[in-house]
């Protein structure tokens, strides 16, 4: 069996994900709002409104406190000398192998929330695909980026 990658993401990343998920959950308000609006036009009972609100709250709660946590705890990466391996996902577990010789460029990027927590995302691009390691501490991300860039440069193209 191929050993699984063992490097986790930064702990603060979970916090960022929770915030992002909570913010995007606000969009779900559209469903009860739509029903509330529909009641002005059609004669609809009140109780489904509360059911909808309850379901949305429950879903948001599960998403924020359980799924994000699982997602975070499942996320693993490992940088070998000749390849990068990623493994992540809750319902669908994905495992990716990117050889160093196929890496075309590697970037770090930050959104406003990541920046607030001094985190950054490392993006690895090949000629055909792009992969992300989301949420590492800034210094870790920077050194990882430089490390991968160095390894990619050194990788033997004749292999």
């Amino acid at each position: 069996m191929r050993p699984k990658p063992d490097q986790p993401l930064a702990e603060k990343t979970l916090k960022v994900w929770k915030i992002v998920t909570a913010l995007s959950s606000i969009l779900l308000v559209i469903f009860p709002a739509a029903y509330w609006g529909a009641r002005f036009i059609f004669a609809l009972p009140v109780w489904p409104l509360f059911v909808i609100i309850a379901i949305i709250l429950l879903l948001a709660f599960i998403n924020i406190f359980i799924i994000q946590k699982l997602q975070w705890s499942r996320w693993r990466y490992k940088i070998y000398e000749n390849e990068i391996e990623l493994m992540y996902g809750v319902f669908v577990v994905r495992r990716v192998i990117i050889p160093m010789i196929r890496v075309q460029h590697v970037d770090t990027k930050q959104g406003p929330i990541l920046r607030h927590y001094d985190l950054a995302t490392v993006t690895v691009s090949t000629a055909a695909t792009t992969h992300e390691i989301p949420g590492l501490t800034l210094e870790n991300a920077d050194s990882l980026r430089d490390h991968i860039a160095q390894l990619a440069r050194e990788a033997d193209p004749d292999e």
């Binding site: 070998y80 994905r94 090949t126 000629a127 695909t129």
Partner: protein
């Protein structure tokens, strides 16, 4: 030839037509909206239409007037644009391939289009000069493909280029009489046809290393079997026309009554005629598209030339081919015919899903011979390993469940809807066939995967072309320790991912092992798996 030149004035018309094509959509929108508002008079529309026509002509004229090209020693320079000026320098050593096409519109004027493909990305990897006399186009091609004199250039490369040119001349002459005519014309009135003369000289000098043509018999077969929908349509039409003879009279009467009652006959008739028309279109389309199909190879250049009305040529470098795909639709499988596609970094046309058709139709046993000549490293017969029996239910359930739901809904809402319960049975059968068709194999440095949606597809992927390997496992697959493998390669300018669903844990491990570049990890993996087997 050392001055700025314009294209043939017919470029005005060509650009006008292509402008018009884009504007037709706008026009339709305007007319639709125009009908709802009653304020505007018909004169307004007339004016509007005239303005658009005028604008198109003007635009075409300006784009011709302001388009200059200049063939310099080591590059092609292009100046274009009236308000937004664009200068483009295409360096010789960056040119991937040059193709000379004659589309319908160009042929009306006896002209050709030159398509230059450059290396590297950028937003415009290819460049077109839409209207040129054939001799001029050939001269440009020859000029650009003759390497700029530099001490580092190898003599062989020069030869290659020469061969490339010759190929151009030859495919044209062998291929189609219309083009011959065109060539004869240009030869007659050519004053300084130095390019052509040399081309013809080369033509006799170097025959192609390999040549393959889709004969007219194959073309007809390809056209007849081109589309599953088409076949279905003919089939349905045949059944409908034959059915009354075989049905007992009482049933026939009852059916007719029912048909008339529900006016399904009308609908069915419409459906059949639509399908038939679709079949006819695909038939004619295929003949026009693949008529005069020839495939030639000279050194590393693969040259494809095809088309009856629109002659298309495509040059690919054999070294840039990233994958070979062998596709077999069920109807072609019955007659043991296949088509071969290649994925190539650069080249490739949009209409073929970004990959290039190498052979529209050939017998399965011919694949080997063709690949041997065109891309020898891809020429092998892999022995596929089937999928574990656990994956059979994944394939079947995936198709049965949705069709059961459809059948349930149909039964509830539509009279005779229970007939839809045939769907789950069909789905199950298809799932079983998909499972039987799927397979994976590693042949030295190649990963081969075989799968089927409806048509059976085999893909050969060389390790050094694979950009990354990914496995995924969903919750249901986890129950049976199954994985899906995804393999990405570069095609044209974007990536393409090939997948095989529901392979076993052991197979995915072997996949990792095969692909991994980490020597230490490979040894470790081998050791642990050996230990695993012992215990």
């Amino acid at each position: 030839m050392n001055e700025w030149k314009r294209q043939h004035p017919a470029a005005i018309f060509i650009s006008f037509l292509s402008n018009l094509k884009q504007m037709i959509i706008t026009l339709i929108a305007v007319f639709i909206f125009g009908q709802s508002s009653q304020a505007a008079s018909p004169i307004f529309y007339l004016l509007f239409f005239a303005a658009i026509l005028l604008f198109s002509v003007g635009n075409g004229f300006i784009s011709w007037w302001k388009f200059h090209y200049f063939l310099k020693e080591d590059e092609l320079q292009i100046k274009q644009g009236l308000i937004f000026r664009k200068n483009r320098f295409i360096r010789k050593d960056r040119i991937q391939s040059i193709d000379i096409n004659a589309k319908l519109i160009q042929r009306m004027f006896g002209l050709v289009e030159v398509r230059i493909e450059t290396a590297g990305g950028g937003s415009e990897p290819e460049f077109r000069i839409v209207a040129l006399k054939k001799q001029e186009a050939l001269a440009i091609k020859k000029h650009l493909l003759t390497k700029y004199e530099r001490p580092t250039v190898h003599a062989t490369e020069l030869d290659e280029d020469e061969g490339f040119l010759a190929e151009q001349g030859e495919t044209n002459s062998t291929l189609n009489p219309l083009n011959d005519e065109l060539k004869a014309d240009t030869a007659n009135d050519s004053v300084n046809a130095e390019g052509i003369e040399e081309v013809e000289f080369d033509e006799e000098d170097t025959p192609p290393d390999f040549e393959w043509a889709l004969g007219s018999k194959r073309l007809i077969i390809a056209a007849l079997t081109s589309s599953g929908v088409g076949i279905a349509a003919t089939f349905i039409a045949a059944i409908v026309s034959q059915a009354p003879q075989f049905l007992p009279e009482w049933l026939f009467d009852q059916l007719i009554g029912w048909f008339i009652h529900s006016s399904i006959l009308v609908l069915g008739g419409m459906l059949v005629s639509i399908l038939f028309a679709a079949w006819l279109f695909t038939l004619i389309g295929t003949i026009l598209k693949y008529g005069y199909f020839t495939l030639t190879k000279r050194e590393n250049d693969i040259h494809i030339s095809r088309g009856v009305l629109e002659q298309r040529q495509l040059t690919l470098n054999a070294k840039r081919i990233t994958a070979v795909r062998i596709v077999q639709t069920p109807i072609r499988q019955m007659f043991n015919y296949v088509s071969i596609y290649v994925e190539s970094a650069g080249g490739g046309t949009k209409e073929e899903d970004l990959s290039t058709i190498l052979t529209p139709l050939c017998k399965r046993k011919e694949i080997q011979g063709i690949l041997d000549e065109i891309v020898p490293e891809f020429s092998f017969i892999p022995e596929y390993e089937g999928l574990p029996k656990e994956s059979l239910r994944r394939y079947m359930i995936k198709l049965i469940v949705p069709s059961l739901i459809i059948a349930g809904v149909a039964t509830y809402f539509i009279p005779y809807g229970w007939i839809a319960f045939l769907l789950p049975a069909l789905g199950g059968g298809l799932g079983y066939i998909q499972y039987r068709s799927a397979g994976i194999s590693q042949v030295e440095d190649f990963l081969c995967i075989k799968s089927r949606v409806i048509a059976k597809t085999e893909v050969f992927l060389p390790k050094r072309r694979i950009q990354d390997v990914e496995s995924s496992q969903n919750v249901l697959q986890k129950l049976d320790n199954l994985y899906t493998i995804h393999v990405a390669v570069l095609t044209s300018m974007v990536g393409k991912t090939f997948s095989l669903r529901h392979i076993s844990g052991e197979q995915i491990e072997r996949g990792y092992l095969w692909y991994s570049y980490e020597q230490r990890l490979r040894e470790q993996t081998k050791k642990t798996s050996a230990d695993h087997e012992e215990s």
